[in-house]
């Protein structure tokens, strides 16, 4: 086991070392690429090997201690890694998809002068993400959690000359920081209530300390942890940083803002599943938030014209599905959907990246069109990605989404099921719209170059996974207690399968009649269109409620009210100084006069005293 343990500790350390070497040396582009891709591929090989070793087992646990961090009184925090079925799935996704995206980035970023900086950040990100999913205690998890946030910030603002990119980066960091602060408070509360921050001990302690279910304290702790998950996974009401985060290079959007970092919230809840099971109210809230988010994201995705924003809203919506699944207690299917989503969304983003690469940084889908024949590989991969997103039968997305829908019925939440089916309909609709507008119809501009070979290779590999990645690893089914299968009615069984086709037909009809991209003349409809396009105007609402008052308050006090008092004190003493120094003017006349006045007054006072007595 010690042999496996040291292999395990190599997984997050390889990318970390590679990032450090890149930071402190000046390699040429080839060495940079070899080092960056090599380290992640090494980590991916180790994870695959561990998969191979533990394939049949469900109850395995592998731990590895990298050293002591903090040890004060009852607080014992180690740099310890913990591998079980859940984290094995996660590291496989992270290193696998991560390696592919690193490889793709070589082609995509080759012309960029900050090639090395890009790979340093990217390696650092993968390392932090691996620490996040392998951490055996919540504080180490928090380290990874903030680390991925930092890398996300750095990569969104990677092209720093453009102020807009940095504003998007700041927004992403601050909005997730709000959630993270709630999570930090959750950590304090958990430690004070349960006396440990070790994740496995927490689950055990929670059962014994909060003996009764639906304990208020359990609800509060889980609510605070949920705050962190909402920020990181872009869920309502902290979802609106993600569309702006698309300002980063496209492979970054694929890796961080689709496949890995944004799934950290799902991982956090799945990891603490026993804890959350003690808090049914919070579980219901998770399902509710998931439903709102999936509808909100899907509806906003319908009307976007920026290629990457469509995909971003789609990501928000798909993450909503995972939250919904978590909330009804179907953790295994949530993680399964997380995996398939990582494949097909990475594929979609990377295809989008290839499109943008070939069309000199064009993002507007209405300026594309008829690209099917000109960019065949991209078109194929886009088609497969869209099919998986729309969950057409026999793609990977189909299996995972069907599983979620089925378990919604099994858990008895029919309302949520209807909402999820509606979401699936919209998803299929916007996927079809995206594909039709970009690849069919009249050609509006022709690509000036084909994507690099290395990019096409990665696209093909991801196509494979998106089609056949629907094989669920046996381990993750043990994550959460099985729900009793109640059996589906015919409607419940066939409706989700048929609906995507209806949605695609509808999209086809609208495409043929040129309804997409047409300017809307009806005012009410136009207003609604604008509302959807701005992602339900959350930016503006937050601007009015939080940002502007805060700025106003700070500006008001810019000169520091407290300091004004001290300055007033200074002014008063200066004034007194002036007044009194007027007596000291060197004129004998004044001195004489004041002497006489004083004598007269003194004499008068003396006389008065004498008369009174």
């Amino acid at each position: 086991m010690t042999y496996y343990a040291s292999l395990l500790s190599l997984i997050p350390l390889l990318p970390l070392f590679s990032a450090l070497i890149l930071l402190f040396s000046k390699p040429n582009k080839l060495t940079t690429a070899l080092l960056a891709v090599g380290s992640i591929s090494g980590a991916a090989c180790i994870s695959l090997f561990l998969n191979f070793v533990f394939w049949q087992q469900t109850d395995f646990v592998l731990t590895s201690n990298l050293g002591n961090w903090i040890k004060i009184a009852q607080l014992h925090i180690n740099f310890s890694l913990y591998l079980d079925a859940l984290s094995l799935v996660m590291i496989t996704i992270i290193t696998g998809v991560g390696a592919l995206i690193h490889l793709y980035s070589i082609g995509f970023m080759y012309q960029d002068k900050d090639f090395k900086r890009y790979f340093t950040y990217l390696n650092l990100f993968v390392s932090a993400m691996l620490f996040l999913v392998l951490a055996d205690n919540l504080l180490l998890l928090y380290l990874g959690w903030e680390g991925v946030g930092l890398c996300s910030y750095l990569l969104i603002g990677f092209w720093y000359q453009d102020r807009d990119n940095n504003l998007a980066a700041n927004k992403a960091f601050l909005m997730t920081r709000i959630g993270d602060t709630a999570m930090a408070l959750g950590l304090f509360l958990l430690f004070i209530e349960l006396g440990t921050l070790n994740i496995q001990d927490l689950q055990v302690q929670a059962l014994s300390v909060w003996s009764s279910s639906n304990n208020n304290m359990a609800n509060l702790c889980c609510l605070l942890l949920l705050g962190g998950a909402l920020g990181k996974s872009a869920q309502f009401p902290l979802q609106n940083w993600l569309p702006d985060a698309m300002a980063g290079p496209t492979p970054v959007s694929a890796l961080i803002h689709a496949a890995t970092m944004v799934t950290a919230g799902i991982y956090l809840i799945a990891r603490n599943s026993q804890l959350f099971q003690m808090a049914p109210d919070v579980m219901y809230l998770i399902a509710f938030i998931g439903t709102i988010t999936l509808l909100l994201g899907a509806s906003a995705a319908m009307v976007q014209s920026d290629l990457k924003r469509i995909l971003a809203y789609s990501t928000i919506s798909q993450l909503g599905y995972m939250f919904l699944a978590l909330g009804v207690g179907a953790g295994a299917s949530a993680v399964f959907h997380l995996m398939t989503h990582a494949f097909f969304k990475a594929l979609l983003f990377l295809s989008a990246g290839a499109l943008i690469y070939s069309l000199h940084h064009e993002h507007n889908i209405f300026k594309m069109g008829g690209l099917l024949k000109k960019l065949p590989i991209v078109a194929t991969s886009f088609a497969i990605g869209c099919a998986a997103l729309a969950s057409l039968p026999f793609t990977s997305g189909f299996f995972s989404k069907e599983l979620i829908l089925e378990q919604l019925i099994d858990s008895g939440h029919t309302n949520f099921w209807w909402a999820a089916v509606l979401g699936a309909f919209i998803t299929a609709f916007y996927s079809a719209r995206l594909f039709f507008v970009v690849f069919l119809g009249d050609s509006k501009q022709s690509p000036d170059k084909q994507p690099e070979k290395i990019m096409s290779l990665v696209l093909l590999l991801l196509c494979f996974f998106s089609l056949f990645g629907g094989i669920q690893p046996s381990g993750i089914q043990t994550l959460m207690p099985k729900l009793n299968a109640s059996g589906l009615t015919t409607l419940q069984h066939w409706l989700p399968i048929v609906l995507p086709f209806i949605a695609i037909s509808l999209a086809w009809w609208m495409f043929k009649t040129n309804l997409f991209g047409k300017t809307i003349t009806v005012p009410a409809l136009q207003y609604f269109h604008q509302l959807l396009k701005s992602g339900w105007a959350f930016d503006r609402i937050y601007q009015v409620i939080f940002v502007s008052p805060f700025k106003f308050l700070c500006q008001l006090n810019k000169s520091d009210i407290i300091d004004l008092h001290y300055r007033a004190l200074e002014k008063i003493s200066k004034l007194l100084h002036k007044k009194f120094s007027q007596f000291q003017n060197g004129k004998l006349r004044c001195y004489n006069a004041s002497l006489i006045i004083f004598c007269v007054l003194a004499f008068a006072w003396f006389i008065k005293g004498a008369l009174m007595s």
Partner: protein, 498 residues
Amino acid sequence: MTLFILLFIPLIGGMLAWYSEKFNANLPKKIALVSLLCCWLPLFSPLNNIIFNDNSFALSQWLLNEPHSWIPIFNIGAHLAMDGLSLLLIVLTLLMGLVALSSAWHEITKRTGFFYLNLLWTLAGVIGVFLAIDLFLFFVFWEVMLVPMYFLISIWGYENRHYAAIKFFIFTQAGGLLMLLSLCALVGVHFQQTGLLTFDYIILLQNPISGDLAFWIALGFTIAFLVKLPALPFHSWLPDAHTQAPTAASVILAAVLLKTGGYGIIRFVLPLFPDASLILAPSMMLIGVIGIIYGAMMAFVQTDLKRLVAYSSVSHMGFVLLGCFAFNIYALQGAVMQMLAHGISTSALFVLVGMIQHRYHTRDLNKLGGLWSKLPKLSAFGLFFGIASLGMPGLGNFVAEFLILLGSFEQYPKLTIFAASGLILAAIYSLLLIYKTFFGQIKGPHDSKISDTNTKEWVTLLSMCFILIYLGLHPQPFFDLTYTSLTNLTFIPSNIGS
């Protein structure tokens, strides 16, 4: 004699540096460097003991204890002693002294001899404050560190230096006066209650004074230390002093001078007045929390880079105050860690601002921008220390803030929630600093003479990075070092029961 030698090296070094200016204007800084390096020699044996023989110091609080008599008629002694806490702060002082020296090396060209005299005497005063165990001696050193600092600001400062220097002096002097009064009252009351006239901390500690007067004396001490920390509403000397001070003075000010306030609370207020500090605790924690939020909000709207960093100091030192009065081993350890981490990260930011000002002759955020494309190394350091000050896990500031909040959450959950909002606010101003200074398009005319960090600057900043990372990833040795000194304080709530 070790501690006295430690104290006299910078004092004598300062005199020599002043005198040597007659021969060569470049000589003083070399003498200053040598004397700062010599200061490490007396520390060699205690450090050696701790690193290789780590059980020995757990037995007693004091690593070195050197009592000498000074003014026998009042029983005033020249009593110096060092425990883990003071050792740690002295190491910080000496390290930051080197950083200050590095930033002054080329910046200071006029009256170099007098400059290094003041620099070294300030450091000597601070070392004395950390070592003095006799209260009267403590007061003497408290004053010794102020006067040279006043000269540093008012002679070598920027455009509005006289105003800032006088403000600094009046504020701290008023605090000092209050301390002198409380100190005499403390000794007087102690004499009344026990019949023993003494200024010695260790003896005073054995019989903490009681009664109503104890509360007022404790308050007097606390306010004197709050001025130094600085906490609201006594903070307003800090932004002015920092903005106008030369970089080296800013570094000393941020890194060590402010820490004497936190040190004073931990060393004197808490153990000498256990009952009174329990009564004071809620209001002090409230002041701390208000300071955290107020400082961060002020930092957000500043356009002067140095003012921004200065207000962020106010916010960070609010955490120290919060930690000191939480009466909890986590929070106290966190407060000490915050003093170290803030000392390094903030002075690094001041060093960076100094470098930017040296190159671009402005500190105005609206006139800066896009430095990354011109000075990538300097900007990378700026990014690092900006991120450190917003409390990124893996760096010392996070460990500190985490422990402080964890410790204070148990007793004061509501206050702690507000304090935790400081984490968000810290992100706001830190990101603003990074965004305005380093990102975007480069502004102003292209000047080919401006170059990136030279080796000296690079080494200084990089070693500060490494110390912060070390504090963040392996803080255990520091916790062990101060554990004995701090556990002596946490018995208070269990004995008295809050």
